[in-house]
Symmetry: C2
Subunit: 428 residues, 2 copies
């Protein structure tokens, strides 16, 4: 196992040592970020393509490291769904490499001028995109995130500190070893990417408190992880991915269309954050729509939590639950006002949908509902960076500051005002 | 004193009560924010203009409340410069009202579409500006901030929670009373603005921990206040206004121009965050430039901290100090690399300037220096929302997330993706 080359932590050491290790890695990342900000697009793409080739070429060692992780996970009795997320195959390794190639093909956001003007006194202003600097990512089992996050952060000129799951420690270490080796081969600082120790939570704590060294931390994972990061951080954070999403079937809905969209919103991939967790059915259409939608869901094995016959009795907890499984809550609401009020109370600001043929209702819903994405007559499953055409996604922000919704390359940038003059001074 | 109408805190009550009061006000603000987001531009402008008139009409009661504050401050022996910031006059009250009229004249950022596309499957996406929701502002003595902050927050569709200085408590209470009365008269929720108790720091603590109710807190004031807010908050924050700004006089500088720009950068208003605090003089030009610049500064009463004869001896603390006074540090540096390294080490990411006639040097400096604003041959005093043509400013962000540099109306907004379809579902 090659962990020591990328994470010089002694696994036997205590929290104070982990903090020192993380601070040291953050300091190196900060230094690296100065030169990464100056890289040309050509150099960055060259590194990304070389890293893709290197990962494919090292497929055997990556799979061997992953086999270690799988063996440990099996010995620990980890459930099959998690094992599947952890497991790499030859095809998955190729997929990881292809992800880097896709990022290489994307537009470089750095240097883009997003505003500018000439002032009456002749000063020429331009506001241009610059990297954030050092980005920390805290994530769970899937090793592909290690490479994806590096690719997106690197293309947008940032150094990245990765804190993956301990269950994927061997896979992550091997992948980061390959990335750092490629960087060095290309004459770019290897500190563009580093893997933090993952033995316990102390490395997360050190990362989220490295003020002055880390510019943002993005947690990707369950609600518990996200909440712990966001409430304890002293560095800026971006909340991602908690999705208690609703589909509101309005009085003027096309019931066949509603059934199709609800079914897709729930069953396409029940474990992801854009899956629908509650269906709100307008009472004026409930007698017709509710049994049809319920039957379609049940025929696909979905358990419905609600107050109608044949459903699991619903409690308040069902309105709050992000099931992430083949479960859905169903509720009859009086009207659009009641639907919006329910969403205001229980939604997490991720994705909310209305099914209707009524223009005024659709417009009112999109204006009043406060969420990262509001859909009219479309599946909640579309809230996704790839689907939105970003080409890559680092997560889906459910906060309002900095970025909201799917985050691509531009969301990992900041801006700088550059002002050119010829001796202007400001009057008193 | 009319504080009870806007801040129902019993001044004799303990911290737990203050927390309850703040949470209650935050909850009301959150509820108000739902309807504020839906106001038309016409309604918002109508309220702003009516509030301006109401403040002018109530000038007498505002000045009487301010006289209370001044009397308390004098009794407490507060220094004259702070008294001046606290003091209102008839002309200053008119200035406050005119500020609201200026905001009414600005473009409404809400509803602006900043991106959009049609996907191959026919889904029509648009990304539109929406309010942040509830904005908290923590600020120091000047009562005009109370009205300015309301104006900017209201025009951008937000509810605002104001936590002003206890020294301005009477002035702030009277101003907020007028604002709330005007809102009610116009049929808009008065909870668009509320003043928090200011007896002690506990209201700040409650505000910055009101997760789920407050969308962002912006501290405006000294470094101590800003640091306390940013490191203890569990809600998102925006750091503002700490400015350790440098002017680097490059080897190829026009010395007369350099002298003029340095003088303006330091002496125009030494107490504001965009004032220059250190001059870095390239050693290749130092023999000529340094005495000329030093003499010009000294002739205006500026005390120079440095290693040359006639200067106050400089220590490391001088490189770190944000003097905010008629003091400046001066240092001879080897070259542009050394200037950039000094700024990397000591700068606060606010405004950095280079004086040079050399295009390559100017370009390299603007690209390499990591700050909200980088000036070429221009005074650091230009980093300002009014100067940049924003029409109004809520502060100058020195962080990289969400907003960087002067913040106007668009910086108090978030975005929402609105997606229109006709039954699209996402393939597996």
């Amino acid at each position: 196992m090659s962990a020591p080359t990328v994470s010089p932590a002694d696994p036997a050491s205590g929290h104070a040592d982990v903090e020192q290790v993380v601070t040291g890695l953050a300091r190196s990342a900060k230094a690296a970020s100065r030169s990464l900000a100056q890289l040309t697009t050509a150099t960055k793409n060259d590194v990304l393509l070389a890293a893709a080739d290197a990962i494919e070429a090292a497929s055997e060692s990556v799979l061997a490291a992953n086999a270690d992780d799988i063996a440990r996970a099996e010995a620990a009795g980890i459930e099959e769904s998690l094992l599947d997320r952890l497991r790499l195959t030859g095809a998955r390794v190729t997929g990881i490499a292809d992800g880097l190639r896709q990022v290489a093909a994307l537009d470089d956001p750095i240097g883009a001028v997003i505003a500018g003007k000439t002032l009456p006194n002749g000063l020429r202003l331009r506001q241009q995109r610059v990297p954030l600097g050092v980005v920390g990512i805290v994530y769970e089992a899937r090793p592909n995130v290690t490479v994806d996050a590096f690719g997106i952060a690197f293309k947008s000129g940032n150094a990245v500190l990765l804190r993956g799951s301990s269950s994927a420690a061997s896979s992550n270490a091997e992948l980061v070893r390959i990335l750092r080796e490629t960087l060095s081969d290309k004459g770019v600082t290897a500190d563009a990417v580093a893997l933090l120790p993952s033995e316990d939570r102390s490395s997360v704590t050190a990362l989220i408190r490295a003020r002055g060294l880390v510019d943002v931390v993005i947690p990707r994972g369950g609600a518990g992880l996200i909440n712990a990061v966001v409430t304890n951080a002293t560095v800026p954070t971006i909340e991602t991915g908690t999705g208690n999403c609703h589909v509101y079937v309005h009085a003027a809905a096309d019931v066949e269309l509603a059934t199709r969209v609800v079914l897709n919103s729930k069953t396409r991939r029940p474990s992801v954050c854009n899956t629908a967790e509650t269906v709100l059915v307008d009472k004026k259409i409930a007698a017709d729509a509710l049994p049809k939608i319920a039957q379609a869901l049940q025929s696909q094995g979905v358990v419905i939590h609600g107050d109608e016959p044949g459903m699991e009795p619903a409690t308040e907890a069902d309105w709050a639950d992000e099931y992430l499984s083949l479960d859905i809550a169903m509720k009859v609401v009086d009207d659009l006002d009641a639907a919006v009020a329910h969403i205001d109370q229980w939604g997490t600001g991720h994705t909310e949908a209305i099914i209707t043929t009524d223009l005024a209702a659709a417009t009112e819903f999109t204006e009043r509902v406060d969420a990262a994405a509001v859909m009219v007559n479309a599946s909640t499953a579309f809230t996704d960076g790839e689907q939105f055409g970003f080409g890559a996604e680092i997560g889906i922000s459910t906060q309002k500051l900095h970025a909201r919704g799917p985050m691509g390359l531009p969301e990992l940038t900041s801006t700088k005002w550059v002002v050119w003059g010829d001796g202007q001074i400001r009057p008193a």
